[in-house]
């Protein structure tokens, strides 16, 4: 019976994939098409590209975690390379530390941070396809990657249209500068919030991932959206967070990264430290999904 159910599940997944190819969703379909039975596990890292020991340690920890909980892709929330960005730096600060994961064929999707040179969008291992902002879909999720260094009206228009036309069950926004933060260094980027948040809310974005602040923080739902800061996967501002009533969890004692699994209406996450300790975990329910 169990086998039969599994077979039916696979068949349903294949049918769903055929109806809704992962990329280039057709526009103009009313409501979200909740027909994806697939799940997706992904990792999130940010402010990682130092080329120093903590980045390498986190990368090794990611590899260990992958063995327990295989992730299909890695989202980078920006500051992928610090300092010099000569060809050698792509090797030392990206290709070597994440080499084993890259060799497994796990794609990394990059966001431009304030330390990243815009030309890095042409580096194929960042999967930006030459674009400074873009979206991509995997299974039930569409990720929207913004360039918050230069949030010009053209990008704003694109974000509005892209969020509007997406039909995946989950919409996840990824950008470098957090619009909510209890980090001591930068704090929230209010100037960005006034532009972005209305679109995130009106288009039912489910989760936001940002970086910039060299800490890990999970912020309680703001206008219905939980925000994560994963900015300590290479850099670390030890103790650099002052939790507020908006803070759901924070960790600034050591470097960290995050693994999340989306399965139907749930996003299960674990924030993992450089030494492998689970420093935060939980489940986020998709409040936009209805039971089929």
């Amino acid at each position: 019976m169990l086998t039969l159910l599994r077979v039916l599940g696979v068949a349903a997944a294949a049918a769903a994939a055929a109806v809704w190819p992962a990329a280039n969703q057709p526009a103009g379909v009313a409501g979200r098409a909740f027909v994806f039975p697939q799940s997706l596990t992904f990792a999130v890292i940010g402010d990682n590209g130092t080329g120093k020991a903590p980045q390498y340690d986190v990368a090794r920890q990611m590899l260990k975690s992958h063995a327990d909980r295989p992730f299909e892709l890695v989202v980078m929330v920006g500051d992928n390379l610090y300092g010099s960005q000569q060809p050698r730096d792509f090797v030392d600060k990206f290709e070597i530390p994440y080499g084993p994961l890259l060799r497994m064929g796990i794609p990394f999707y990059a966001t431009l941070g304030n330390h990243d040179e815009p030309d890095n969008r042409n580096y194929p291992k960042f999967n930006m396809n030459g674009q400074r902002y873009y979206s991509f879909a995997r299974g039930p999720v569409r990720f929207f990657v913004f360039d918050t260094n230069f949030m010009d009206p053209e990008q704003v228009k694109w974000i509005d249209a892209a969020l509007d036309s997406a039909r995946e069950e989950w919409k996840i926004a990824v950008f470098h500068h957090p619009i909510y933060s209890d980090g001591d260094r930068h704090g929230p980027n209010v100037a960005l919030r006034v532009v972005l948040e209305p679109m995130l809310v009106s288009h039912d974005v489910d989760v936001v991932f940002a970086g910039h602040e060299h800490i890990y923080e999970r912020i309680r739902e703001q206008k219905g959206i939980p925000h994560f800061i994963v900015g300590s996967s290479g850099q670390l501002r030890k103790g650099g967070v002052t939790p507020s009533s908006d803070t759901a969890a924070s960790f600034a004692d050591d470097n960290a990264f995050l693994i999340a699994t989306i399965d139907r209406g749930n996003l299960t996450f674990q924030a993992i430290s450089r030494t492998g300790a689970v420093v935060d975990s939980g489940v986020i329910r998709n409040r936009h999904m209805t039971e089929n």
């Binding site: 000569q86 060809p87 304030n114 030309d119």
Partner: protein
């Protein structure tokens, strides 16, 4: 005796436009004339910078006072005060929020630049998505070199002309103020990013040092004229920089772009 005048306009919180007129005086000064809270006023300024500071204060005053309806409306009429004009040529500034001539000239210039950029790009190996960062870097450097060669005499003010500079300073200030920010907020965000802007080597036709770049405030970007995709604005310290982001090239510089900057 004024010989040249510049009309300076701004919009207050209620969306009303105000006009203040600055005219040159001998020797080398300016007189700013207009109407404040219904009363005509004239302020002598010893430099253009002082005129801009006066404008900054007037704009702030217009926002802060929330005057009774109609008082500021008087400004526009009152400033139609006949100014004693000499026979010299008249310089006119632009109207923030309105397509002023200088903005049109600027937009044309950036469009021409992007055509030049694309023409040169076609003669070079294309900057493609490539797994070899060396190739990316070489393509960027070659494009930068070609653009430098095509514009060997490029200098500050080629795009940010004097008239455009006034427009940009006013727009930046208005955009920040309208959202409750100040130039100090821009500088604070730069400091938080660990940037020592004073150390940034900024030179027209030089390579833009991305180490000194921080995010532009979206409200400022919304207020500045749109650019072709090859170009972006950044503010480094007090300087507005026009950058060719495909060639990492500084195309123009506007020092003291922030209204509270002392020159």
């Amino acid at each position: 005796m004024t010989s040249t005048y510049v009309d300076l306009r701004f919009t207050d919180a209620r969306g009303r436009q105000h006009l203040v007129r600055a005219g040159t005086t001998d020797p080398g000064g300016w007189v700013v004339e207009g109407s404040l809270d219904g009363q005509p006023f004239a302020k002598h300024c010893d430099s253009w910078q002082s005129v801009e500071r006066t404008m900054f204060w007037l704009r702030r005053h217009a926002h802060d006072q929330e005057p009774p309806r109609g008082v500021w409306g008087v400004i526009a009429a009152a400033v139609a005060l006949v100014m004693v004009l000499g026979s010299a040529a008249v310089a006119r500034a632009q109207v923030p929020g309105v397509q002023a001539p200088a903005v049109g000239t600027f937009t044309d210039a950036t469009r021409e630049y992007s055509l030049l950029h694309r023409r040169l790009e076609r003669t070079l190996p294309r900057l493609e998505v490539t797994s070899n960062p060396d190739t990316i870097q070489r393509a960027v450097e070659q494009l930068g070199a070609a653009l430098r060669a095509a514009r060997p005499d490029a200098k500050p003010g080629d795009f940010f002309t004097e008239a455009m500079a006034v427009e940009l300073r006013v727009r930046i200030d208005d955009a920040l103020f309208a959202k409750g920010f100040s130039p100090a907020d821009l500088r604070a965000s730069e400091v938080a990013d660990g940037i020592d802007a004073a150390m940034a080597p900024l030179k027209v036709n030089g390579r833009f040092p991305w180490l000194y770049a921080s995010a532009m405030f979206p409200c400022v970007l919304q207020a500045l004229p749109p650019l072709p995709p090859e170009l972006q604005y950044r503010i480094v310290g007090n300087t507005l920089v026009l950058i060719d982001v495909h060639a990492d090239l500084i195309v123009d510089l506007l020092p003291y772009a922030l209204a509270d900057t002392e020159r």
